[in-house]
Amino acid sequence: MSAVVAEHEHDDHHDHGPQKGLLRWVITTNHKDIGTLYLMFALAMFFVGGAMAMVIRAELFEPGMQFVNPQFFNSMTTMHALVMVFGAVMPAFVGLANWMIPMMIGAPDMALPRMNNMSFWMLVAGVLLLASTLFMEGGAPAAGWTLYPPLVLQTGTALPFAIFSVHLLGISSIMGAINIIATIFNMRAPAMTLMKMPLFVWTWLITAFLLIAIMPVFAGAVTMLLTDRFFDTSFFDAAGGGDPVLYQHIFWFFGHPEVYVMILPTFGVASTIIPVFARKPLFGYSSMVYATASIAFLSFIVWAHHMFTVGMPVAGELYFMYATMLIAIPTGVKVFNWTATMWKGSMTFETPMLFSIAFVVLFTMGGFTGLMMSIAPSDFQYHDTYFIVAHFHYTLVPASVFILMAAGYYWLPKWTGYMYNERIGRLHFWISVVSVNVLFFPQHFLGLAGMPRRIPDYAVQFADWNMISSIGGFIFGISQLLFLWIVIDTIKGGTGIKATDEVWEDAHKHGLEWTLPSPPPYHTFTTPPATVPTEHI
């Protein structure tokens, strides 16, 4: 008995490292470990979702049916989207939040470490449940990631599994979001006032509020699908007095803020990286905070621009059109601020900066096509064509995914203690930025010419651009293996170049994390730092 007590005291009074063995990763409550788990899981899912995209592009390489049957093709488009949204992009940002937020605000850990562990493993369970539907009778869900009834109700055995998987993923994100809010509100170093927080922390705080507001609504919508299918309710069944259009309203009330959940932390990372490599403070810090908050607010009142063609009255179309256009204003503020930050800066172009600049340019293009579709009368032509596919892939791949890559390159030296291979990094960037445009730019033309989305076969008039798009897709897909190689190489210390504490010139002026050693010890900021950097303000 006394031995146990003695060991406890030992634990309490000394800073101890991670537990030995693999079990460490299962039971860990350390924010750095959980951040690593999230990031690794997201990277794995990025390749799983990517493989599904390769199936899609292979089938669309030529007109006619080549490799897969239409049902499986539709499963691929559906699962690709669900895996990328809920398995790759969102967990990757939660991983960055776990790793960086405590270090950026001078906190020893997340506010609720055990819940943190639980939300990660719930995510794994949710994604595995979703993946298991691929092997079920009737195939995986194939009605598109929006899961519109009545089509989705025709899903085979997979439907309840997909719905429970959405529940698990939702609970996991909600717990993650609550944890982030509690950490930011209660764990900041005394010197870290709200308006001194790095923008990554700000954008995540706002994103977390979006998440707790919308994920329960989505959970409700899929629960209604479940009861419609199995318990004779008629929420969306016209025969029983329901209305399938109602589902679209509920879904997009969730869905529009959801797409901002994936872009707001992207803005935060871009606002963190660009000033460091421009060697200037961020231009318009407070306007960035207010712009983020405005975008988040507007995201709740524009949902029906996803459904201009359902037969809304003109007044409704006009309202949603103008409200949607309004979003361009705070977003424009952000783009101008990033540009102004770079203006007359002493810029250098290391890989994180290259990806960030590509983000600013290509995200703006995705924004402009969004503006085109916000115009209700034109949207009737673009609706459900490859034009919308091109639009949202521009805002997700060369925007969110590029910024995740940038974040990877930017913080890898801090996480691992070694520099990554800069030459391969730049090679990865240049192949990616060229191929991503070869992949998605022709899809604008396909969409304007009338090619519908979610089809496995198409008229021969679309053959040329589809082939070019597929070639771009294959190159983009394969080139991402370079990133995987770099991550593994850096973890192993392949370059042999030890990272300094601040890694990037004068980075310590921009963020607290750069005042810590590289790699940081297992426990950091057990006593809060006395001062915080204010260069970013």
């Binding site: 809010i181 509690a182 507001a213 329960p216 004779d232 016209a238 007095g241 109602l246 509920i250 809304m312």
Partner: protein, 181 residues
């Protein structure tokens, strides 16, 4: 200090969990809200499920409205279903009866329900039905065919801008859920 943070965390988490529960409820609250909105604004071509009384209007001879009739079957409902009149030119305030023909193509008894939809949506409230096969579920014996009337009037208060009104019915096979009940 440490206790203090734990208390603050607990308080915040409890508040946020209530927000989450509230938003889950809000998702469900959207269902009645949507119906109320559709009712008030007449959006979506949703119409009253019950008959109105036949009262005589002053017939507006000055204008003519085209009323079109359409029929559709949900998914693969095994029926024949068609309007016997495709379109009708009428004056607002006149009462008319048109017939629809529906036939069960299966060897079993079928319970089906026709759901109406009127477009343009804002005109829906002016097309009033005195009698309709859509007011209740219809039971068909095996291979039975029925001719079913709809008696309606277009309220003379219909705004001038509407020249054509389309009345569409979709038949849904409700046999399974009716049997369960």
């Amino acid at each position: 200090m440490k206790e203090n943070i734990t208390q603050k965390n607990t308080k915040l988490v409890v508040t946020l969990v209530f927000v989450v529960l509230g938003m889950f409820g809000f998702g469900y609250a959207l269902v009645p809200l949507y119906d109320v909105l559709c009712d008030i604004t007449g959006l979506n071509g949703k119409v009253e499920g019950a008959a109105v009384k036949e009262i005589s209007y002053e017939v507006d001879k000055s204008r003519e409205i085209t009323v079109e009739f359409m029929s559709a079957l949900n998914e693969s409902t095994p029926m024949v279903f068609r309007p016997e009149t495709k379109k009708l030119k009428i004056h607002p305030g006149e009462y008319h009866t048109v017939n629809f023909y529906a036939e069960n193509k299966t060897d079993k008894v079928m319970v089906a329900r026709a759901i109406p939809s009127i477009s343009p949506g804002p005109a829906a409230e002016y097309l009033q039905k005195i009698e309709c096969f859509c007011f209740s579920e219809q039971t068909f014996k095996a291979h039975e065919g029925k001719t079913m009337p709809v008696r309606f009037v277009v309220n003379p208060e219909l705004p001038e801008k509407y020249k054509t009104i389309t009345l569409a019915y979709t038949f849904f096979d409700n046999t399974e859920s009716s049997v369960k009940k």
